[in-house]
């Protein structure tokens, strides 16, 4: 008999995420990849500030917590001191693309041999739905009440496109967790991003478009549609860089 079940790389804790939040799916995929690659004993994860701030409680591998936006800098330090460890960061859009933009860009440009999982849900979740760097044009949030772009907020920041111009970067792919097909593709991308680090190939980042039903003020069904119809249009899926 074949059984699909919860991996041991996740702890037994129930997550604090809202119903329908994409973080839970992304957590499972990262945990399954760690299990499949057999790297649990040497993996060190770095939790961000944001909705995923408590993720160290959910993973059965070494985890640490980092100041807001600084995971790529911390990952740089850990990986350089312990190059035999597998170091990954897990960051949201506020962490990676707002307060942590400098750390992200410079770690990428230096070609640090780390794996970055970037969850893009186009909003600040934990703090209650403020505009994020990746909020879509015209999208309402508590700090863009007339829709983004009406008062000089600029268009959404496209992280994969931006980083693809940097020579140091090895692998960039944008995926989603809004359909079973996308979930399978996301797992393949995450696995490749970890494998690149094992092979010493350098900086790999997977951007995952993810649902936030609570702060989008949508139902689960509507938020899946929002990712599939609106977000995928603003943030096209695909491989943005692959040095192979």
């Amino acid at each position: 008999m074949l059984t699909l079940k919860r991996t041991d790389v996740l702890t037994d804790a129930c997550t604090h995420y809202c119903p329908g939040c994409g973080h839970g799916i992304a957590h499972r995929l990262v945990a399954e990849v760690i299990e499949e690659l057999g790297i649990r004993e040497k993996t060190i994860g770095i939790a961000p500030v944001g909705c995923a701030v408590l993720m160290y409680d959910y993973f059965n591998c070494d985890m640490t917590e980092c100041a807001h936006g600084r995971p790529p800098a911390m990952a740089t330090g850990i990986k350089r001191i312990q190059p035999d460890k597998i170091v990954f960061t897990y960051q949201g859009d506020g962490d990676l693309a707002a307060i942590g933009t400098a750390e992200t860009i410079h770690a990428a440009n230096r070609g640090e041999n780390i794996t970055v999982i970037f969850i893009n849900n186009a909003i600040y979740g934990m703090t209650g739905g403020q505009m994020a760097p990746t909020t879509l044009t015209g999208m309402r949030s508590t700090t863009s009440q007339d829709g983004r772009g009406e008062h000089g907020e600029g268009p959404p920041l496209k992280v994969c496109e931006l980083l693809s111009t940097l020579d140091g970067v090895c692998y960039l792919e944008r995926t989603a967790v809004s359909t079973p097909k996308d979930v399978i593709a996301t797992k393949r991308a995450i696995k490749k991003a970890f494998q690149n680090q094992i092979d010493g190939k350098g900086f790999s980042l997977v951007e995952v478009l993810s649902m936030c039903p609570t702060d989008w003020k949508l139902s689960t069904v509507q938020s899946v549609d929002f990712v599939n119809n609106e977000m995928k249009e603003a943030f096209p899926l695909g491989v943005y860089k692959d040095k192979g």
């Binding site: 059984t3 699909l4 995420y17 119903p19 399954e32 979930v183 069904v221």
Partner: protein, 83 residues
Amino acid sequence: MNKVHFDKHRCKGCGMCVLFCPQKILRMSADLNDQGFSYPEVSDPDRCTACGMCFRMCPDCAIQVDKEGVKTSDKKETTDVME
């Protein structure tokens, strides 16, 4: 027989499994679990094909899917555990 199991205590009632089940054999319970959410029930277990779509879309890893009659060579991922 193929079987889908729900850990109803872990479930947050998001309905993703109901939405993505291709066989449309899941529905949300009238009861609430101890977190206060309704949880999925299988209306017609015999029609479950063990495709695993519900498992893949569940944000809370509250689902286990058992598939009978599969050969080890069909195993695609190590997290597909053979038992």
